[in-house]
Amino acid sequence: MDDLFFFDADCRVGSGPVIGIQPGVKELLAEMDHFGIDKAVVQHGSTGMLGAAQANLQIAEMLKEDTEERLTGIWYFLPTQCRELPEPDEFFRQMKENRIRLLALNPYEHQFIPHRISIGKIMDAAKERNIPIFLREFSGQWRDLYDFIERFPENIFIYCDRVGKWGHDRKIRPLLENYSRFYYGMSGYWVPEGIRDLADAYGADRLLYSSGFPYYIQGSGMTQLKFCGLNEKEIAAIAGKNLEKILSEVQL
């Protein structure tokens, strides 16, 4: 238990006009050292305003600072019709080259409708290759989230919330119950020993430690998990092993 392996599913780096000056890769790595976090998934913190193509370039460039390869990146995708990003096969080849193993979408700021006719092609390709779809922009948009997942029920999803601190079991549990490839990253989920209750109901293999850095601190979720009442094996799974396994199955 003392040497828990932690893999943070939800970090952002990079600055922007709205979010201001935020930590870069060096600062994130230093903070991971400070708390004893081994690895992390990162995206550019200003993807909404930068746009998918530019944010993808920038996060790939930033990841070069991580010489020990502790970070794994997220790239954003868009409807395929406008040809702003390469075709899926080429896109995935570039992902592999740049240590990117997750996809995400921001239909709100990037102004598109996340339907089968707009993004079905890339969602299907992601499903075939076990590439997880990281869901953060749907934070708090529960009706949209439900509709979106219903359209693509066989994809792998990692949902991390950051909006509000009111426990949202009433919304998250139906998703855990109905979609076996839906994983819950628990940034900002602070319900007392709620981690244990979710694991008891849906299995510890469906839950992921995630911080929400740089808005949330990595340490508090670590103590919350360590003392949530689950056994050592379950805690280790949530701390990092589940995410490690999901990402090891990605085929790029």
């Binding site: 991971m32 050292d33 400070h34 708390f35 004893g36 081994d38 601190k165 009111w166 426990g167 949202h168 079991d169 009433r170 900002g188 602070w190 319900v191 007392p192 020993e193 709620g194 209750d197 850095f213 740089p214 808005y215 949330y216 601190i217 990595q218 340490g219 508090s220 979720g221 670590m222 103590t223 919350q224 360590k226 003392f227 949530c228």
Partner: protein, 272 residues
């Protein structure tokens, strides 16, 4: 990797990581009890909350019952719950302006609820009644006369319990001890002013802040750790998350001890 905070010998972080407890009592100054209309939390009963609190080394939880401040349960019934857990629970008498007769009766009962009743609880934002409204006056006067704590739910952007109205009442009732629940969340400038422009009768309470990166550091910098109280809104938020959030902050162990333990003892005594 350098040595993580949880492994640095002799620190509070190391102690908590190892044992899930600290070698001093933690006081949670902002709690509730009972089910909530919008949130599922399983551990809301006196028994289950007690188990969670004891596991985390919390000596006292000062709370107001959800069904008092969001329903029509009476404070007398809460005192009965406290009596069943005399070493653990302390109550804020919930003040609901919609029931003025209840306020009168409950304040008259206050002394009979010693040592359980330690102060009053206001929730102005939820009722949309500014804390400066005359309907709060009987309770404010009562607390002022007896130098009692009032835990007020405060929110930076609120016209009901935000900065300007809180400053007005904290100055008008200089002997009441105002615990600003959530530290006037988001209006940090007024949080600082409330502490500095009053009669040393204001403390910032942290619920919802531990776990946020850099905010505890910022508050300690503004008002000093002596003016900050720990709280979790239990059963809303996990004690291990909350205490872990304080321990994760980049402040000294002395500051952490002030927040988690000493300040409550300074206000209420060692044996409250």
């Amino acid at each position: 990797m350098s040595t993580p905070i949880w492994k640095q010998p002799g620190t509070l972080a190391e102690q908590f990581w190892k044992n899930g407890k600290l070698d001093f009592p933690v006081y949670d100054m902002h709690g509730h009890m009972g089910s909530h209309y919008a949130i599922h939390f399983y551990r809301h009963t006196p028994e289950l909350m007690a188990e969670h609190l004891r596991k985390a080394g919390v000596k006292h939880l000062a709370f107001s019952h959800h069904h008092v401040i969001m329903g029509d349960m009476r404070n007398a019934a809460v005192a009965e719950i406290c009596k069943r857990f005399p070493d653990l629970y302390r109550m804020y008498v919930g003040i609901v302006p919609a029931f003025p007769e209840n306020i009168k009766e409950d304040l008259a009962m206050f002394d009979q609820w010693t040592p359980y009743a330690i102060g009053l609880k206001f929730l102005p934002d939820y009722y949309r009644i500014p804390v400066t409204d005359k309907r709060w006056e009987p309770a404010l006067k009562f607390a002022d006369e007896r130098k009692l704590p009032i835990l007020v739910h405060t929110w930076g952007s609120s016209q009901y319990d935000g900065g300007p109205v809180m400053l007005e009442v904290a100055q008008k009732y200089p002997n009441a001890k105002f615990f600003l629940g959530h530290s006037l969340y988001g209006n940090w400038e007024y949080a600082e002013r409330l502490v500095k422009e009053t009669n040393n009768n204001v403390w910032l309470e942290l619920t919802a802040i531990p776990g946020e990166r850099k905010n505890i550091e910022m508050l300690v910098e503004k008002v000093g750790s002596e003016r900050i109280l720990f709280g979790t809104d239990l059963p809303w938020f996990d004690e291990f998350q909350g205490i872990g959030g304080v321990l994760s902050a980049d402040i000294s162990d002395d500051d952490k001890r002030n927040i988690l333990c000493r300040n409550a003892e300074t206000i209420l005594g060692k044996d409250w």
